[in-house]
């Protein structure tokens, strides 16, 4: 046996150990290398994320809400844009920051994102100052690994300026295309802020001139003394419009002044000029026609009636029976023509634009009683009795007592004319659903079917039914309808052949509060 001086077995064991250590070392070295690489990658990703977050924060308004829409986090840009402090926002429902107009969108977003859907659109949110901020918004729901909705991230961009400038451009283009003068001025300094092209041409100015010009320098006001108080009244009273008549360049204008306010802007007055010359001319022509009717028809009628009256009264000597009969016909017909002229003029007057009635609270029960008393004599002539069929006390309507009496008088005289002698005509009123209904009921022949639709039209002569020939100009019910219209009421009727007709006038009922307010306003006036 050789002895080599070392134990081969031991050498082999050491070699194995060394090899194993090398393997371990190599594995360790590779692991370290890999870890370093991963750490490097992670740092890169973190940097990338931070960079993206910074970019996002620079560009967008970011909010994070829980599934109930409660704000959990917002970025600084959001706070800066809306003027809130972080503590004023966190923990509050996102809905509270939506404008009233857009609050419903908040609910829509909640519903969609709960189902994992992304919402995108324009939203209006309130700035801390009360101004409205328009945002282009995308809301992304975040789900956990089990698909459960855990929160929402909203990304917004402020588009208020874009929207305003778009609307502004559209408005300016619209005004500049109008063939009438439009002008906006500052109610404090009276400096003109805007004038459309038409107005600039009229004044011989350019838009560059506007900075220094005041509304006083235009002729868009009837007189300078009036413009100041009118402007003040618009601002103080909060009334939206005032209309002034302004004669300019030989034509008639109406200057319409509007108080305009928009959040974030000082109040302004908008003036729009309307050329009303044609309307004024038409009204003048109508009045001339009315005057001609009045004078030119009444003058010959004066001679006819006068002559017939003198003969009829025997002032020029005695008459034969036949002559008397003919004179009676002439007298009756000239009287009829006179009533026709009167009714025509009355109708014209009621329907003209400037017709005004002094309105006051009218006690309906008193009105009915007075109408019955006033027409008792007329009823006796026709053997008709006017009867109060029931009118609750303390019913009030806003109206002109004389004109409402005229309405009742017309309806009562119609009812009496069409009733058989010896019968009653009933009057009364009831109240229902904030409305007072005044009624006049006859027991006459009823309104023929063919006349019902045109009953309130001018010159509708109806109901010459049976043996009764009724004298009428055909204007009475037109006058009644016009007067009821002027009282913001309506009129209708119920009729049955052989049974009679009930005319019903429906007027808005006045509450005690309305009456108090109307009386107080009358005292101030």
């Amino acid at each position: 046996m050789f002895d080599l001086g070392f134990d081969i077995k031991l050498v082999a064991e050491h070699a194995l150990l060394g090899f194993s250590m090398l393997v371990i070392f190599l594995a360790y070295y590779r692991g370290r290398q890999s870890l370093r690489l991963r750490e490097k990658l992670l740092r890169g990703q973190q940097l990338e994320l931070a960079f993206q977050e910074q970019a996002l924060n620079e560009h967008a308004l970011v909010t994070v809400t829980d599934t109930d829409g409660i704000l959990q986090d917002v970025n600084q840009r959001f706070l800066d844009t809306f003027g809130y402090k972080r503590e004023e926002v966190i923990g509050k429902p996102h809905r509270a920051f939506y404008t009233e107009h857009d609050a419903v969108k908040s609910d829509e977003i909640k519903e969609m994102t709960a189902n994992g859907e992304i919402w995108s659109g324009i939203t209006q949110l309130n700035h801390a100052s009360g101004d409205v901020v328009f945002t282009q918004c995308t809301v992304v729901p975040m789900m956990d690994e089990n698909g459960r909705h855990i929160k929402n991230i909203s990304l917004r961009t402020d588009v208020t300026e874009n929207r305003q400038s778009e609307v502004q451009r559209l408005m300016t283009a619209a005004f500049d295309n109008m063939h009438t003068a439009v002008c906006v001025y500052d109610p404090k300094t009276f400096h003109i802020c805007y004038m459309n092209d038409y107005a600039l041409t009229e004044q011989g100015w350019t838009s560059a001139d506007l900075g220094q010009k005041t509304i006083w320098e235009t002729d868009y006001s009837p007189n300078p003394d009036l413009l100041g108080p009118v402007t003040k009244d618009l601002m103080v009273s909060g009334r939206s419009t005032v209309v002034l008549k302004t004669p300019r360049n030989g034509r008639e204008y109406e200057a319409q002044l509007f108080s305009i306010s928009a959040s974030g802007f000082s109040p302004r007055i908008l003036v729009i000029m309307h050329d009303i010359s044609d309307r004024v001319l038409a009204e003048r022509k109508r009045q001339e026609l009315v005057s001609v009717i009045t004078h030119e028809l009444r003058t010959p009628l004066t001679s006819i009636k006068g002559a017939v009256g003198l003969i009829g009264a025997g002032a020029v000597g005695p008459m034969s029976v036949k002559a008397r009969s003919l004179i009676d016909i002439a007298e009756k017909n000239s009287e009829r023509m006179l009533i026709l002229i009167r009714d025509l003029l009355e109708l014209e007057r009621i329907n003209q634009k400037g017709f005004e009635m002094e309105m006051a609270p009218v006690n309906v029960a008193n009105l009915v009683d007075e109408a019955i008393t006033a027409h008792r004599g007329y009823g006796l002539e026709l053997d008709i009795e006017f009867v109060n069929a029931g009118t609750p006390q303390d019913l009030f309507v806003s109206g002109n007592a004389d004109r409402l009496m005229q309405v009742l008088a017309n309806l009562m005289s119609n009812a009496a004319k069409f009733s058989e002698a010896g019968s009653n005509v009933e009057l009364g009123a009831w109240a229902e659903d904030g409305e007072v209904t005044l009624f006049v009921r006859d027991h006459g022949p009823g309104i023929p079917e063919e006349s019902r639709e045109t009953l309130f039209d001018r010159f509708t002569q109806t109901r010459n039914v049976g043996n009764k020939k009724v004298d009428s100009t055909g204007l009475g019910l037109s006058i009644v309808k016009s007067l009821v219209d002027r009282h913001h009421g309506t009129i209708d009727f119920a009729t049955e052949t052989g049974e009679g007709t009930t005319f019903m006038v429906h007027l808005p009922m006045m509450s005690p509060k309305d009456i108090e307010a109307m009386n107080a306003a009358a005292k101030v006036a």
Partner: protein, 125 residues
């Protein structure tokens, strides 16, 4: 027996003048002086010294209102009753004429049998 009052009537319509003359003379027993226009009436009013003037409103040339103003300038005419007669029947016209100082406004067509009594009542005021 006192002398009948004199009525001065100014009216451009001949038929109406005729009716009014018959009414005032035959029914009323007045003396009647008539003119067809305002200028003539103003020129001759003083020489007739009327007790009452009945004045049409719408007349060509000098109308009723102008005639009224000119008549009032005449000696002794400052307080004479002047009654307008008009075919215009609006309340506004009526108010305007009364505000000038007219004693009354009578609307056309008038009742020729009642006119004398109306004027007598005005003169008695």
């Amino acid at each position: 027996m006192s002398e009948s009052p004199t009525i001065m009537h100014v009216e451009d319509e001949p038929d109406i003048r005729e009716i009014a003359k018959m009414s005032l003379e035959m029914v009323g027993g007045f003396n009647v002086v008539q003119f067809s226009n305002g200028a003539e009436a103003v020129a001759q009013a003083a020489q007739h010294d009327p007790d009452l003037i009945l004045l049409d409103v719408m007349m060509p040339g000098m109308d009723g209102e102008e005639t009224f103003i000119e008549l009032r300038k005449l000696d002794g005419f400052a307080d004479k009753p002047i009654v307008f007669m008009t075919a215009k029947a609006s309340q506004a016209d009526n108010t305007k004429l009364l505000s000038l100082g007219a004693a009354e406004v009578i609307f056309k067509p008038f009742d020729p049998m009642a006119l004398p009594d109306q004027l007598r009542a005005i003169m008695a005021r």
